[in-house]
């Protein structure tokens, strides 16, 4: 079927009677084939002897170049970035990281000459302007309220309550709202 398009039939006709070369059907296809004779591709193949372990190593090395499927770029951003469990992890590790850093700094403070006792911390904090104090307090209060409220939500998930998809989304937004409101209250009025 494709042999006729390629021009083998045209070549056969011309070879049978050379006066046929100027027929339109043969001319067009011969022109096509003639120009491509110079540009036919040839592949030079060389073989190489490999032991089975070498072949295995080549295959294993090729596997390391496999591309990674997109994951976080394409998944539903409401579920992955706002769903709550990554923020639980972020707020929790921010608090615990801060506690760990403060603990280490408190132990080495006398050796360096810093003053990290509660009295000096309170005095330093008291000297800051009001807006800065409120901002810092909210920065500490919101992660605490979010982690606590979302923690309660996750513990109810662990018992099995509220695990339907729409309940998860609804309670997730409730926790976001409640944590911001409670954080503001703790920062400004407590």
């Amino acid at each position: 079927m494709i042999a006729q398009r390629v021009g083998t039939t045209a070549l056969r006709r011309v070879a049978a009677s050379p006066s046929n070369v100027f027929f339109t059907a043969n001319l067009a296809k011969l022109g096509m084939t003639a120009s491509s004779i110079q540009s036919t591709q040839t592949r030079l193949v060389a073989t190489q002897k490999l032991t089975p372990t070498d072949a295995h190593d080549i295959l294993a090395a090729q596997r390391l170049h496999r591309p990674v499927s997109p994951h976080l770029e394409i998944y539903d951003k409401q579920q992955t970035f706002f769903g709550g469990s990554i923020w639980q992890r972020i707020t929790g590790s921010a608090f615990s990281g801060g506690l760990y850093v403060f603990g280490a700094a408190y132990l080495v403070a006398p050796l360096i000459g810093w003053h990290l006792e509660s009295a000096s911390l309170a005095a330093a904090f008291g000297g800051l302007p009001l807006a800065v104090k409120g901002g810092l307090k909210f920065l500490l209060a919101w992660p605490f309220t979010f982690h606590a409220l979302n923690g309660v939500r996750h513990l109810t998930f662990d018992i099995g309550i509220g695990f339907k998809r729409k309940d998860i989304v609804k309670t997730g937004w409730y926790v976001w709202g409640a944590s911001i409101v409670t954080g503001l209250y703790l920062a400004m009025f407590v």
């Binding site: 070549l11 491509s36 592949r43 615990s96 506690l99």
Partner: protein
Amino acid sequence: MMASIARSALLRQAASASKLSLATSSAARQSIIANSVRASAFHTTSRRNLLPPLPQRVEGTVNDPAPVPEPSPSHGSYHWTFDRLVAASLIPMTITPFAAGSLNPTLDALLCATLLIHSHTGFQAIIVDYIPKYRTPRARKVFTWGLNAATVVVGLALYEFETSDVGLTEAIKRIWHA
């Protein structure tokens, strides 16, 4: 006659020649070019990796399945239950300072200890999730022992803070009301 190795090249060129000659108008030719650009963009993979893959290693032949870890209830099911119990016990312990104003030293020490255990298991979960043992065994070991050492240091620091200073809840109260 045509050699068989040359025929595939001719097939390709004949197909492309016939396709382009069909579209005589420049608009149709432009639409073919635009469609082929769109199609080729779909065919290539982009290298925008949000999280690049960890180093991979092949143990045994490439056709062996990845090894399934040994099940261990003390690292699995019991650990999970213990983690949830600690988290649940933290809820009344964090509400009490708000309700009662301040805590006596015993309760404060209990809160600090439970908080330390909760932080330790939380960081352990992060390490287990993001540093797999099969792909990065040395990094996993370094981080695990680093976390253990850090928890011991912070435990010591909290003890010092409780005994020679006012304690965690009282300190937070004083700073908050400063």
